[in-house]
Amino acid sequence: MTPEPSSMTASPPSPTPPRPAPRPPAPRRDGADPADGTALQTRNLTLHYGSLPALKAVTIAVRPHSVTAIIGPSGCGKSTLLRSFNRMNDLIPGVRIEGEIEFAGRNILAPSTDVVELRRRVGMVFQRPNPFPKTIFENAAFGLRMLGLRDRAELEARVETSLRRAALWDEVRDRLERSALTLSGGQQQRLCIARCLAVEPEVILMDEPASALDPTATARIEELVLDLKAAYTIVVVTHNMQQAARISDRTAFMLSGELIEYDETPRMFTSPSQKLTEDYITGRFG
C-alpha cells in the first residue's frame, strides 16, 4: 500500500523557522549547527536513577525537520535520554537530573517549566503500541479533548487529518467507532502516531517504535517517519542499526550513559571516527 498523498502535503503545524542561506563551514562536534538551528539541545545532561548513573554529561543538538537516531546496546541510556526530552523521567521516583535541555529557547529542566505544555509540544510514541481501550476516534481525539476542544465538527476534522498523516485513514475510516484494540499491532502503532500528531507537536520522540511489529508493519512505520520529517523533528531510539541507517539523517551512538559519537548517518555507518562506534556497528559487541 502506498502512503497517503495528503500526508506528504500536510502543512507543518508550526511555522518553520526561517533558514538563512549561507552555511557555515563545519558543524560543531555536538551537532549544533547555527545555520539549521536546533530543535533540542542538551548540555552536560547527567541523570541518576538513585545512585546509578544513566546519563553522563550528554551534550547533543537535535536539528529541526530531520530524523535523529539514537543507537546503542541495551542499558546505554538511549531511552533515558529520549524520555528526558519530554520529562517522562519525572514519573520515576528517585531520578536526579543535572545539566540543561534547551527547547524553544528555554531550559525545560527549569522548575518553572509547564510540563503539560512541554509534552504537548514534544510528543512521544512508545515501544509497544499502547492505544487506550477506547474507540479509534476517541484515541485520535484524546489529546484534543484534554486541551478542551469540544466542537464535534472540529474534532472530526482534526482526527481525520491526523489519521491521514499517520497513513491510517483509509484503513479505519469506516470503523472509527470500533475499539482501537481491534486493530492489528502495526495499525495500533500508527494510531498512536496519529494520536500524537493530533495535538500538533513540534518534536516527536519515538522509543523503538517498530520493535514490537512484524517486518511489513515496520516498513510502513519507517515510511511514515520519512514522510513526517518534512513537518516534524523526529528523534528515534532504535536497537536496529539497519533501521537507523535507513531512516535517520543523523545518528548518535551511546554507550554506558555517554554519547560516544554523533554524526551524519552515512558517515557514521561508513567511516565512524570512534573505535567504539566501529566495533558496535560492525557487530563486535552489543
Binding site: 519530554n86 517522562m88 503539560v116 509534552r119 509497544r128 499502547n130 487506550f132 470500533r178 475499539s179 500524537c196
Partner: protein, 315 residues
C-alpha cells in the same frame, strides 16, 4: 552418613512398599474438610429454600406485616434494605475511590502520613461491626445530628436514628473494602496507559479521570459488590442508627427510620410473641434476603462483565 547406612536407606526405597496409609488419611481428612463447606451451603440453602419458598408469594413481597408480625408481608423491610444499600453505595464509593486515588497517585509511598492512612485502613477493617454501630450512634446521631438540629433551629430531625445515619455507618464499615479493591484496580492499569496519556499533554488529574478510572472501573465495581453483599446483611451497625422494629409505612426521607430484612429476621426470631406462628415468615424473610443479595450481586456482576468486554474491545 556412612556408606552402610546409605545403602540401608537405598535398599528400603527399593523394597516393595506397603500401602500408603498416611497419604490416604491426609487425602480423606482434607477432602472431608472441603466437603463440609459444600454440605453447609447445601444445608443452609436447602433448608431455607425448602421451608421458605411456600411463604414467598406476591402478597408476602408487597404487603406490610400484620397481627404482631405473624401475618402479612415484608415489603417495608425489602424497601428499607434496598434504600439503605443504595444510599450506602452512593456515600461509600466516592470516598473509597477518592482515598484509593490519593494513596495510589498522590501519596509518597514511605511518607509517615501515607503509612498512617494504610495503618488506619487495615485497622478499620478489623473493628467489630457492633462498634461501628455504637460509633454511628455517638458520632452521627448524638454529635452531628444534634448539632445540625441546633444550628438549623429545628426540633429533633437529624438528631435521631435515621436511614441516612445507618447508611453512613454501613459505609464506614465497608470503607476499607472499597479502598483496598479500588487501589488494587488502579494498580492493574498498565503503566503504558498512564504514560501515553501524560505524553499527550494530559494533566495528572485528566489522566486519572479519563484513563485510569475508566480502566479501573470493573475492579472498583468489585469492591462495591462486596460491600453491597456485606451491607445488606449487617445488622449490628444499623441497630442503633436507624433500623426500626416495626413501621407500617415506608421511609419518606433520609431522616426517617426504616425496616430492614436482617434486623427483621432478628426481631422475628427473638422478639416475636408467637414463635411458631412467625416461623414460616421467618424462613420466607431469610430467603428473600438471600435472593435480594444475590440479585444485587448479579446485577453488578453483569454490569462489570459488560464493562470488561468494552475495555477489551469486544462490544
Amino acid at each position: 552418613m556412612t556408606a552402610d547406612a546409605l545403602t540401608g536407606r537405598l535398599s528400603r526405597i527399593d523394597k516393595a512398599r506397603s500401602y500408603d496409609w498416611t497419604g490416604l488419611a491426609c487425602t480423606a481428612l482434607t477432602a472431608f474438610a472441603a466437603l463440609l463447606v459444600v454440605l453447609m451451603v447445601a444445608v443452609i440453602m436447602g433448608n431455607i429454600a425448602f421451608f421458605g419458598w411456600r411463604t414467598v408469594t406476591w402478597e408476602f413481597l408487597t404487603a406490610t406485616p400484620r397481627e404482631g408480625m405473624t401475618a402479612g408481608g415484608i415489603f417495608p423491610a425489602i424497601f428499607g434494605t434496598v434504600a439503605l444499600v443504595l444510599l450506602m453505595v452512593v456515600a461509600l464509593v466516592p470516598f473509597g475511590v477518592g482515598a484509593a486515588i490519593y494513596l495510589h497517585e498522590y501519596a509518597r509511598p514511605d511518607a509517615w502520613y501515607t503509612r498512617a492512612v494504610r495503618f488506619s485502613v487495615n485497622n478499620l477493617a478489623g473493628v467489630p461491626s457492633i462498634v461501628f454501630g455504637l460509633f454511628g450512634l455517638g458520632f452521627f446521631i448524638q454529635f452531628l445530628g444534634r448539632h445540625m438540629d441546633r444550628a438549623l433551629g429545628l426540633d429533633v430531625v437529624w438528631g435521631q436514628p435515621a436511614l441516612m445515619w445507618a447508611a453512613l455507618t454501613l459505609a464506614l464499615l465497608n470503607l476499607p473494602v472499597v479502598i483496598v479493591t479500588a487501589e488494587e484496580a488502579l494498580r492493574t492499569v498498565p503503566r503504558e496507559a498512564r504514560e501515553a496519556s501524560l505524553a499527550l499533554g494530559a494533566t495528572r488529574w485528566q489522566t486519572i479521570r479519563y484513563v485510569l478510572l475508566p480502566q479501573a472501573l470493573p475492579g472498583i465495581l468489585t469492591g462495591a459488590i462486596l460491600s453491597v453483599s456485606r451491607g445488606a446483611g449487617e445488622v449490628a451497625p444499623i441497630l442503633f442508627t436507624g433500623a426500626a422494629y416495626f413501621l407500617p409505612y415506608l421511609p419518606q426521607s433520609p431522616t426517617d427510620q426504616f425496616m430492614e430484612l436482617g434486623y427483621h429476621i432478628f426481631v422475628l426470631s427473638t422478639q416475636s410473641p408467637d414463635v411458631d406462628a412467625t416461623k414460616p415468615i421467618l424462613y420466607g424473610t431469610v430467603l428473600v434476603l438471600l435472593l435480594l443479595t444475590f440479585l444485587l450481586n448479579l446485577t453488578a456482576i453483569l454490569l462489570r462483565s459488560r464493562m470488561r468486554a468494552r475495555l477489551a474491545g469486544r462490544q
